[in-house]
């Protein structure tokens, strides 16, 4: 069973009479525990697609099933709950909460989104801090961390509530090449360790080479339907 399945998926933005088609009918499927990349030129629809997979936005046509749920059926509140339970996010600009330490940023979803008991929470946060190699930086605030360190914390935050799917829209765009490469490595290591599916987007050809399955988006379409590369199976 696939984790994400899109059938003839479309998304058209509308401003009054003007319609901007961003996704023009795509079909793809993503298996559990895969490491997937969407690439394409600027404006090709990568962010639009990832937003829909992340249940942040609704399709205007076709169907999109994430973990077996047709996301068109989710209202605002249900979508928020669905994201909190199943999906982790890594952002281009890290988006850590500035007033919280690394530890507290990772802990945040376990407090504010899910309600884990304190002891279990602590174990989980420490485990992820160690997994992303930030155990010795636990008490630093975001403004005391480098970009790479921030993104490591962000990856830990995305994984902390045992998400089955992590979406990362251009997670390396604000990092230098070496750091970018190491973040992608970290994500793949996390996939191996936790079995979480990672879907990310990028412009960078070297980064896209790290993906096991690559979909190329061009002007809202995926010309080469199946995607390049072999699908990883657990």
């Amino acid at each position: 069973m696939s984790l994400v399945r899109a059938e003839n998926l479309t998304k058209t933005y509308r401003f009054g009479d003007i319609a901007v088609p961003a996704i023009k009918g795509v079909d793809f499927s993503i298996d559990p525990a895969s490491f997937v990349c969407f690439v394409g030129p600027s404006g090709s629809g990568k962010s639009t697609l990832l937003n829909m997979i992340g249940c942040l936005d609704q399709p205007t046509g076709g169907t999109l099933k994430v973990l077996g749920t047709d996301i068109a059926t989710l209202d605002r509140r249900a979508a928020a709950r669905f994201r909190g339970e199943n999906i982790g996010f890594v952002f281009q600009d890290f988006n850590l909460i500035p007033v919280l330490t690394a530890y507290e940023n990772i802990e945040y979803p376990l407090i504010m989104v899910q309600e884990w008991p304190a002891k279990k929470r602590r174990q989980q946060v420490l485990r992820l801090l160690a997994a992303v190699g930030m155990a010795d930086q636990a008490n630093k605030r975001p403004d005391q961390m480098s970009g790479g360190q921030k993104q490591r914390v962000a990856v830990a935050r995305a994984l902390v509530s045992n998400a089955k799917l992590v979406l990362a829209d251009e997670p390396t765009a604000n990092l230098d090449h070496d750091t970018a490469y190491r973040i992608i490595e970290l994500m793949r290591k996390m996939r191996d360790e936790f079995g979480t599916t990672f879907v990310f987007s990028t412009h960078d050809p070297k980064i896209m080479g790290e993906a096991e399955l690559t979909f190329v988006l061009e002007d809202g379409r995926i010309p080469d339907g199946a995607g390049k590369g072999e699908t990883h199976h657990v």
């Binding site: 669905f82 994201r83 952002f91 989104v113």
Partner: protein, 415 residues
């Protein structure tokens, strides 16, 4: 919940200067209101006390129509002895009544054998009058305050009249009056005391013993012009007034109309209007405080939401429910209110304490200096603090609501 508070507190500390300025505004507002309330409250209490405890009592009972004609001191509107007995019986029944004093009032000519003028006289029972009006003897001149208020054959002269007529203690004066039947009668008195004036009704009255008054007026029966009533607790004023009215309702004249009427001190004194003005002023100052808190907290919270749009987008994307986001921002505004309130209350208490040590005094009319002793009831502080906190919460409600309704994609894209 404690985590929401923690995050809210950290966010407030992140913008230290802004938080400080806003709380300062709330603190200043709180202090202004609380100080105004305590000082004006103290002023009001002292002034009201002067009237109730040295002239008017808390309540007065008259025959119907007497108060309307009080300037003429009409002898034909006195209460009959039977009615007076009924009043006293009724007063005995009411637990809140501490004591009462009957008065027989009349107008007379006051003569020093050299000069003559008119005077208003209260015939009083010295013991009862002193008990019902504990501050009355305090208005007597220096050296005259101790001992019984008055003995038979003695008169207390108002200071204004004494200085104008050059009357001294121990002088013999004569009172001449016309009684109800139109015949004239006179009697000699020794000046026992000179009483400081007090602006307002009864502030310039002379006092003689009620028995002398009856003799002078040739009233053999125990007629009474008015009863001055002192309550144990002035806060029960209106309730007791009502109770007394009901108790006296049974007494009616030949036409079946009520014979007696009950007035509170406020009905009889023009100072009641000043007291009311003070209350209105207090209300306006409270409204200002509400406005200050509302505008300043709303302003900071709107800024806070605007500056953190991307942060809101982030926490919303990772699944924080709208309710939690709302509570995060609501807590921030609430904490501002609570912090300002706490500091404001503490500063106010300290200042009020200091005012009591320094003893602020002022002179009222011809009276001896009155020392203000501002005080604040816990209830008043709690009410103001509660208002500020509620207003702070209301002020953050709109920005917090806006934050909780934000679309995560739009918020995340915000630069």
């Amino acid at each position: 919940m404690s985590n929401v508070l923690k995050i809210a507190a950290r966010n407030l500390l992140r913008y230290q200067r802004r938080t400080l300025l806003t709380s300062l505004l709330i603190v200043i507002g709180m202090v202004a209101v609380l100080l105004f309330m305590s000082v004006s409250g103290s002023f009001k209490a002292i002034m009201i006390g002067q009237f109730t405890d040295s002239v008017l009592g808390h309540l007065e009972v008259h025959r119907k129509g007497y108060v309307a004609a009080i300037d003429a001191l009409p002898l034909n509107l006195n209460m009959s002895p039977q009615a007076a007995v009924k009043v006293e019986e009724a007063l005995k029944q009411i637990g809140d009544v501490e004591t009462w004093s009957p008065r027989l009032k009349f107008g007379a000519m006051f003569s020093t054998f050299v000069e003559t003028t008119s005077i208003r006289i209260n015939g009083i029972d010295p013991q009862r009058e002193a008990a019902a009006l504990p501050l009355l003897s305090g208005r007597l001149g220096a050296g005259q305050k101790s001992g019984p208020l008055l003995a038979k054959g003695e008169i207390i002269v108002p200071a204004l009249l004494a200085s104008g007529m050059k009357v001294k203690l121990g002088d013999t004066v004569v009172l001449v009056t016309t009684n109800r039947d139109g015949s004239v009668n006179g009697k000699n008195f020794t000046v026992r005391g000179i009483m400081e004036g007090l602006s307002g009704p009864g502030g310039r009255d002379g006092y003689v013993h009620i028995d002398d008054a009856r003799e002078l007026l040739r009233i053999p029966d125990a007629e009474v012009s008015e009863y001055v009533i002192r309550l144990k607790d002035m806060t029960h004023l209106n309730a007791v007034a009502k109770q007394l009215k009901q108790a006296l309702e049974g007494l009616s004249n030949t036409e079946g109309k009520p014979l007696l009427e009950v007035h509170t001190w406020a009905d009889l004194s023009p100072f009641a209007n000043i007291a009311r003005m003070i209350d209105v002023l207090t209300l306006f100052i409270k409204i200002m405080l509400v406005a200050i808190v509302l505008v300043s907290v709303m302003n900071v919270m709107i800024m806070a939401v605007y500056e953190r749009i991307r942060e809101i987008g982030t926490i919303s994307a990772i699944g924080t429910s709208p309710g939690k986001i709302l509570s995060l921002f609501l807590c921030e505004g609430l904490m501002l209110g609570v912090a300002g309130t706490l500091v404001g209350s503490v500063i106010s208490m300290i200042v009020i304490y200091a005012l009591n040590i320094w003893k602020i005094s002022f002179v009222f009319g011809q009276q001896q200096t009155v020392v203000l002793s501002p005080s604040l009831g816990l209830g008043q502080v709690v009410a103001i603090a509660g208002t500020v906190i509620v207003v702070a919460a209301l002020a953050s409600l709109q920005p917090a609501w806006k934050a909780s309704r934000m679309d995560p994609i739009t918020a995340l894209r915000h630069v």
